[in-house]
Each structure stands twice: as structure tokens, then as C-alpha cells.
């Protein structure tokens, strides 16, 4: 597959993620912040998001297993997840968090458990899609330069 096709594939895939609501304009902002001084910025931020989210999801599962559920603690975790997903543009995760917080406020354990399942699902979807996106990532200018050196006699 040549470079132009690769670039097209990347752009098309990324566009579909916006259309399907997986990403919003905040993700665009992340990409705009990436430059030669920080060429892996987006991957770094997204990796931090993955790590942090997994920690939060585990905490949430544990908290909902307790005999006496601490809704304040759960709400605090969901608030954090809502914040970080919003910061990277993971729109669908953020939306589930909003519903999740409402159930926390109502102290509705069934609602909370349902939301935990939903947020886990949305998280794993966006994680898979972002991982795919980075595999087809747009080469930076330096890479294009070296590639063209290899191709030309």
C-alpha cells in the first residue's frame, strides 16, 4: 500500500470515528497540539487515558460489589472518568458517565451496575478504535522524507 493510500485510509478512518460519535472536537485539539517537539503527544495522552480509565473501572467494579455501597466514592470515580474522557474527546464514554452520575445521585444500584457495563463497553470500543487508528497513523514529515529516499534511485 503506498503512502497516499495509507494517508487516505487514516483520514477516512478518523472521519468515521467522528461521525459515529466516538470522538469529538477535543480529539482534534489534541492533534493540533502535536508537533515536531512532541511527535507522540496524542499517543501519550491517549495511553494515559487508557491506564487511568482501567484503574477507575476496576475501582468502580469493586465499589459496586460492597455490602454497603459508597455512592459518593462511586460518583467521585465517575466524575474523574467523565473528565478524562471529555479531555481527550471520547464522547460516548463521557455520555455514559453523565447517566452514571445521575444513578449515583438516586443511589440506584441497578442503574449504576447497568451504567458500569455500558461504560466498560464504550471504553473498550473507543480503545480498540484508537489503537487501530494509531496503527495506521499518519507518518510525520521526516518519515516521508526517508521513505522517498528509499524509493527513488
Amino acid at each position: 500500500m503506498d503512502l497516499v493510500q495509507l494517508q487516505r485510509q487514516f483520514v477516512d478512518y478518523r472521519t468515521s470515528l467522528y461521525h459515529e460519535g466516538f470522538l469529538d472536537e477535543q480529539f482534534t485539539q489534541l492533534q493540533e497540539l502535536q508537533d515536531e517537539n512532541n511527535p507522540d503527544f496524542v499517543v501519550e495522552v491517549v495511553s494515559l487515558f487508557f491506564e487511568d480509565s482501567e484503574r477507575l473501572l476496576n475501582e468502580l467494579a469493586r465499589a459496586l460489589e460492597q455490602q454497603s455501597i459508597d455512592y459518593k466514592r462511586i460518583d467521585a470515580h465517575v466524575h474523574q472518568l467523565k473528565g478524562s474522557s471529555s479531555s481527550i474527546g471520547a464522547q460516548r464514554v463521557q455520555k455514559v458517565c453523565i447517566a452514571f452520575r445521575n444513578y449515583c445521585e438516586e443511589q440506584n444500584v441497578e442503574g449504576c451496575l447497568k451504567c458500569l457495563q455500558q461504560v466498560r463497553h464504550e471504553y473498550s470500543l473507543v480503545k480498540t478504535k484508537l489503537e487501530s487508528l494509531f496503527q495506521v497513523r499518519l507518518p510525520c514529515r521526516r518519515e516521508i522524507f526517508f521513505l522517498s529516499k528509499m524509493v527513488l534511485p
Binding site: Q29, L30, L33, V45, L48, H79, G83, S86, S87, I88
Partner: protein, 147 residues
């Protein structure tokens, strides 16, 4: 987020004449760049904030809590860890004139009013974008005391 004027750089060896000029230039540039203390408990938001601020030509230090921020500023019964050189002194520990910008992911008008009435210069809604920082830049420059 707080803005403070860049601290002086202390050199610990004798520079060559040409080097000296470069260092002086660098000092002047750093004098003009503002140093922001960014406080956020989210590691993702700290990373994002750091990049946003650096992209807007601020110097940045990130800390994860209000307590760590007070510690950094030397306001928590410890001597200021902000400077590694013993020759450097703060002008007392009065950070009163330093502008404070409050950020939140929640748009709660009563809380926002409370922050502004409490002396915050500005309130910004998360998630932040470069355009948000550009908007407040001029505002913050105006609010600094002129010596």
C-alpha cells in the same frame, strides 16, 4: 492556575563572553515569559494543560493538588522548594497579586460566582482548548501589577 513572573536564573560557573551574551538573552526571554503553576488532580488534564500552556509560550509547573501547590509556593510551613539555589529569595511569600484562574468541568453558575467573588481573575470551563488560553492571555497581562 497561577501566573508568576519568571524567577532569575542563577549561574554557578563563569561563562565565556559570547556565552554570557547568549545566557543574558535567554534570561531576558525567560523574564518575559510567565510561569504558570497548574493544579489538577487528573494526570491526563495535567499533561494536556502543560502542552496547552507551553504552546502558548508559558513556562509551566504542574502539581496534583491544592496542598502541593501551597507547598510549592512555600506557604505550608516548609521553605520554598521552588528554587534549588540558596542564593534565590522570594519577595516575602506574598503571592496575593498573582492572578488565579479557576477551571472546572462543571458549569455551576453559583460556584463560578463564588470563585470570581473570592478573587479569581477568570473562570474556564474544561475541556480547555488553545483558543481559551488566547482569550485570557491579554486579560491576564493587563491584570499584572506594573513595577
Amino acid at each position: 492556575m497561577e501566573l508568576m513572573k519568571s524567577e532569575n536564573i542563577v549561574q554557578d560557573r563563569q561563562p565565556q563572553p559570547q556565552e554570557e551574551e547568549e545566557i543574558m538573552q535567554q534570561e531576558e526571554e525567560e523574564e518575559q515569559r510567565f510561569h504558570v503553576l497548574a493544579v489538577d488532580d487528573s494526570v491526563i488534564d495535567r499533561k494536556l494543560l502543560e502542552k496547552l500552556l507551553k504552546a502558548s509560550s508559558y513556562q509551566v509547573t504542574c502539581v496534583e493538588s491544592g496542598e502541593k501547590a501551597l507547598e510549592y509556593l512555600g506557604l505550608l510551613h516548609h521553605s520554598s522548594p521552588a528554587s534549588s539555589s540558596s542564593q534565590h529569595h522570594h519577595q516575602g511569600s506574598s503571592w496575593k497579586d498573582v492572578p488565579v484562574v479557576v477551571m472546572s468541568s462543571e458549569n455551576v453558575p453559583s460556584r463560578i460566582s463564588m470563585c470570581l467573588e473570592g478573587g479569581a481573575e477568570e473562570f474556564m470551563l474544561k475541556p480547555l482548548q488553545l483558543s481559551d488560553l488566547h482569550k485570557i492571555q491579554a486579560h491576564l497581562l493587563k491584570s499584572l501589577p506594573h513595577s
